[in-house]
Symmetry: C2
Subunit: 476 residues, 2 copies
């Protein structure tokens, strides 16, 4: 590229020093700072990255996914502050000390990759997503203009197109967001913008009072938000019936399918979302059931008149110049309220490439079959009680310890049962043997919510889960 | 942990197969799906990750940062679609094909790590941040509750505390967000919430019309937003004077220091933000000048009455149970509009640990000294014209090709000069020799904006930049 001097200075052994003293030969000084040569010691830096990669392979990719290891190494906040050297000081630490710190960070972090981590709506390790994530971290792109993110913009376009196809729209638009909540916020903004396109100029104050959902109180209904796969129960709204009402009244139908959207990939289970093609917008997070890694969340919009851009465009002159030498319609960043945005679509694309549509379908089917198995086991076992028949991968159940099994299901029973799940959770976390969530919900006292996602999970882990809860709770 | 069977099945050479057929011995079937054993081939997956890590080390960490390599490998969207195999198919691709795809993704991506990438407010490669990013990608945490993110919540707390110290507040609160725009949105919400604390129950419709900035039109002013380091010019508002006005009128003062905040780490340059301790909230993005990697953006709030939580809390029962066995004040996720949130503070923490406060200061000082050098060179060279004396690391200038040098600075001159930067930009991208931004701004025709950030950048690169622009534009 040029006849410049070598970029790397020789390193004299000291890898404890983080940035090098630049060469003083023919030095140019400004404010007492030598400007010749880089101050980064590339060789030492590369060595550090290589050593850290080995640590990550050993401690996270291998060890943290091993069923014989703990899911978590519980420490209270006070203890953990003692164990970790959190303080940031005036001078830096040498690289061997930094590697020790990395090891501590990994040791005391919850192993969400572990086959017995069932605590959230994400779990497990997908090797393809992980590679995609390493690549994007190393390339450090921001997805707003084609000139700085050519590949990732085209990948996002390809992924959105495919997701739109699975929703059943002929055309559409979309964008990846940092989370389903942000996607839902976008959908509300879009619906409101469509309802009053001059809102960006006039502001909110001149407008009627808006309501979400229909209402008869003189306010202006503009949006119905349905859910495909609720967080706790995994319940699905009847989209077709809701779409009928929305059509009749000209309302925007948004479907929060952050959790349930992935069922669209399964020919067997996509009926859970029957009617989704009639929605105006859909939030769908492949980082949950499809394991694309946090975060990977799309908002998909049926409209193809560039509504996202009309609603959000800020026309930043330093990014979205119109006199560029290429087709600036590829500068899709102006569809987002963010400026910097991560190429989250790439992770999903990589998994899709690796597994194919059929492989993704298999994952969904297997997770739901394992859920089915667990439900049947819960029904068979004494002391376990299903909250309801699950529609999806959320299995909600109570564990009733022997001391409560003969008790009448009155106020005292429920008050006592309410204490059981938190107490078992404490024991399982301190033991580190598994993690699953609990919560009260709509008048029901604390119950466990088990979620199966990862293809690392086996039937044996379902048996273990029930055995372990019984073991931890039978003396209560 | 348990007496379970080995988690890994033997692999018989075929690494082209992405998920294994599970063992049929003693199989349990549900819906025709065998539930015994994992379906993930861990050995093949690990091999793939290891090979990809080698590729990343070679192609990104080493090659993409080499000054002798191109900054970008320009292809038009149409060409790039031909070159990349973007389509997602029914069946998956074998691992060697996936590695080829990864190589293509890297080849055609812009090398933001390259010492001659000056196009945005981020650049360069920080090895410590990269390691932190690899660790978080591998651990795949979401930062909302202490139970799933113990380490990263404490790290975030430590980093926020340190940033608050540098702003000059005695106490405060804060949160990391996906981008400065989101931080600014939070600040507006907080100011509005403080002004009318019943907004969450009553909604917007009963409230007076709000304005940002002071105003005399009967609307209710509630917020002044000042900027420390504008995106194009790198200009700083006089915070102390603005704070006087805000104090007098009881207005919330928010400072968008997304870009300029990092100057706080330099004893020499922090005077640019004189008065920032009087702000009510500050947005500060360590992913820009401090190279923490996209994204790493904090909103810092002076209030310490838990305003963030009061304003944003949704009390999700499945995350923020109050009957947990540990101090739930560490479950800070309810301060965010997001549910899943990435541990971005960790990247900044790692850099701070590695370089120390003094090392970070040195980076800021060196970037600004290099900027100073470039300004002086621009003044010396024929055909280069500064737009204004820079306050920070944004050097805005025109290149005036020989054919325009004798022309009077009238409408024709400016119309012709307006075409120069886009044309040179096209040539530099097609050549791949460097990247810097251009834009028109406030009545000024297209000018270049050069931003120096990375410690990989040398004085020689500043000279190269001016030589190269002259080389590319001298025939215009």
């Amino acid at each position: 590229m040029s006849g410049d001097a070598d970029r790397r200075h020789p390193v004299d052994g000291d890898i404890g020093q983080q940035e090098m003293a630049p060469s003083k030969k023919g030095a140019v000084l400004v404010d007492g700072i030598i400007l010749n040569g880089p101050t980064t010691d590339a060789k030492a830096g590369e060595k550090f990255v290589e050593e850290a990669c080995r640590l990550i392979m050993d401690e996270v990719v291998r060890k943290a996914t091993d069923i014989h290891e703990k899911v978590c190494e519980w420490q209270s906040p006070e203890q953990l502050k003692q164990l970790l050297d959190l303080e940031m000081r005036d001078t830096g630490e040498p690289q061997d000390r930094l590697l020790e710190l990395c090891q501590d960070v990994i040791r005391y972090s919850v192993k969400t990759n572990h086959p017995r981590f069932f605590n959230q709506l994400y779990a497990g390790l997908d090797y393809y997503s992980l590679v995609a994530r390493f690549i994007t971290e190393a390339l450090n792109p921001s997805v707003y203009t084609y000139e700085v993110s050519p590949v990732f913009l085209l990948v996002e376009e390809a992924v959105l197109k495919k997701m739109i196809e699975f929703i059943g729209w002929k055309e559409g638009d979309g964008i990846f967001n940092p989370g389903g909540s942000v996607s839902n916020m976008y959908a509300m903004n879009l619906a409101r913008y469509k309802y009053c396109p001059n809102i960006k100029e006039k502001g909110l104050s001149g407008l009627p009072r808006f309501v979400v959902f229909t209402s008869a109180e003189g306010a202006a209904p503009f949006l119905v938000c349905a859910t495909s796969g609720t967080t706790v129960l995994g319940a699905f709204d009847p989209l077709d019936e809701i779409a009928d009402i929305c059509e009749r009244h000209g309302l925007w139908l948004h479907v929060d399918a952050s959790w349930g959207g992935s069922a669209l990939l399964s020919r067997k289970h996509r009926k859970l979302l029957h009617g989704i093609h009639r929605a105006d917008s859909v939030a769908w997070n492949p980082h949950k059931m499809l394991m694309a890694g946090i975060q990977c969340c799309a908002l998909l919009v049926k409209d193809h008149s560039d509504l996202l851009k009309k609603c959000y465009s800020a026309n930043a002159s330093y990014l979205f110049q119109q006199d560029k030498f290429y087709d600036v319609s590829y500068d899709t960043g102006d569809k987002s309220i963010q400026c910097s945005r991560r190429p989250d679509a790439f992770k999903f694309w990589m998994i899709w490439k690796a597994l194919g549509t059929l492989g993704l379908e298999e994952r969904v089917n297997r997770a739901l079959a394992l859920s089915r198995y667990l439900v049947d086991e819960i029904k068979k076992r004494e002391g376990f009680k299903l909250l309801m028949e699950p529609e999806y991968a959320n299995i909600c159940f109570w564990y009733i310890p022997p001391s409560l099994r003969e008790m009448e299901e009155g106020p005292e029973f429920w008050a006592k049962l309410n204490l059981v799940a938190p107490a078992i959770k404490e024991r399982m976390m301190k033991k580190g043997s598994l993690m699953l969530g609990y919560q009260p919900h709509r008048g029901k006292v604390n119950f466990f919510r088990q979620v199966v996602i990862s293809p690392q999970v086996r039937r044996e882990d379902m048996d273990f889960l029930l055995d372990e809860i019984d073991l931890l709770g039978r003396d209560m």
